[in-house]
């Protein structure tokens, strides 16, 4: 059973994308959502609560999504958190690199609400 009250961290350097993700997550009844604008900001916040899910963009500065993923997977306190990459980077090398770094799933932008729901269910279980 998926706990929809668990804290979710969304990370993107575009405020409009953060707002889109927050709204789509709210429609899926995930209301406990925090956001960050890059990997450094996210990493700091991830240590302040027990998050149940990270949804992150790739192309951000100064810390990219792939760097954030590696830092999360290397951190004993965070490595268990499901991590979904949501990015416009759609090259084969990107998908392979992300998979090797331990990403839980990969969504290419632009995406729709059904894709988001489907990928979250594949990561968290049906809801």
């Amino acid at each position: 059973m998926v706990d929809k009250n668990m804290p979710v961290m969304i990370v993107d350097d575009y405020s409009t994308m953060l707002r889109i993700l927050r709204n789509l997550l709210r429609q899926l009844d995930f209301n406990n959502v925090d956001d960050a604008t890059d990997g450094t900001d996210a990493l700091q916040k991830l240590h302040q609560k027990k998050y149940g899910l990270i949804i992150s963009d790739w192309n951000m500065q100064p810390m990219t999504g792939i760097d954030l993923l590696r830092r999360v997977r290397a951190d004993a306190d965070l490595k268990h958190i499901p991590f979904v990459m949501v990015t416009a980077e759609s090259k084969t090398e990107n998908v392979i690199t992300a998979k090797q770094a331990g990403v839980s799933n990969y969504i290419v932008k632009p995406f729709n609400a059904d894709t988001l729901k489907g990928k979250l269910e594949s990561v968290l279980g049906p809801f």
Binding site: Y14, N23, F111
Partner: protein, 194 residues
């Protein structure tokens, strides 16, 4: 890294080579001198043309202004997108006040609006790629002008980052063109097989 040679110096060296060759006998020097003289004329003409380009106009105004305009487009589309989403969020709240069938329909439409608003992120990333390309052109124009002895131009003054060919930086390419971009289904297949 090879030592940088100023265009004026290159021209000076070339003149010296031509002068040395002119001291040689006619049969030895003929075609070679002709070629070098042609090259010398070409360098002089190119240098004059580049010097007359007023690079401060090209790099200092036109290109920088173009970047400012593009950044403004990103900001304006972000503002418009936020306004559209604010309206959609209000509509979604109203869905709770109407019969369930209509509410479901409203929610579906609002979801479509949220999805469509992702255009701002994608176009923003594409415009950022153009801004970086212009910065590179600006850097090249300045380097060329500096090589021609233009006092106001500094090589790399507005230099954009060099294109990385490997490592994580090479994976930061932003959105692909629509005929090159992979679909979610292709990504899923790649992900499953990676």
């Amino acid at each position: 890294m090879p030592e940088e040679i100023h265009l004026d110096e290159a021209h000076e060296y070339l003149d010296k080579v031509i002068a040395t060759l002119q001291k040689m006998n006619r049969r030895e020097k003929g075609p070679l001198v002709e070629t070098l003289e042609h090259l010398s004329r070409f360098i002089r003409s190119t240098r004059n043309e580049i010097s007359s380009m007023r690079p401060e106009s090209a790099s200092g105004n036109y290109l920088s202004n173009a970047n400012d305009e593009l950044e403004q487009i990103i900001n304006e589309t972000a503002n418009a997108t936020n306004a559209i989403m604010s309206a959609a969020e209000e509509l979604e709240k109203l869905a709770g006040c109407i019969p369930p069938e209509a509410a479901d329909r409203i929610t579906l439409i609002v979801t479509g609006i949220y999805e469509a608003c992702a255009f701002q992120d994608i176009t923003g990333q594409r415009i950022t790629k153009i801004i970086r390309a212009i910065q590179k052109i600006e850097s090249k124009v300045n380097a060329l002008a500096a090589a021609c002895g233009h006092a106001s131009a500094e090589p790399g003054e507005f230099g954009g980052p060099a294109s990385p060919s490997n490592g994580d930086a090479a994976l930061l390419n932003g959105p692909q063109l629509s005929n090159e971009a992979k679909s979610q289904a292709e990504i899923d297949q790649l992900f499953a097989n990676a």
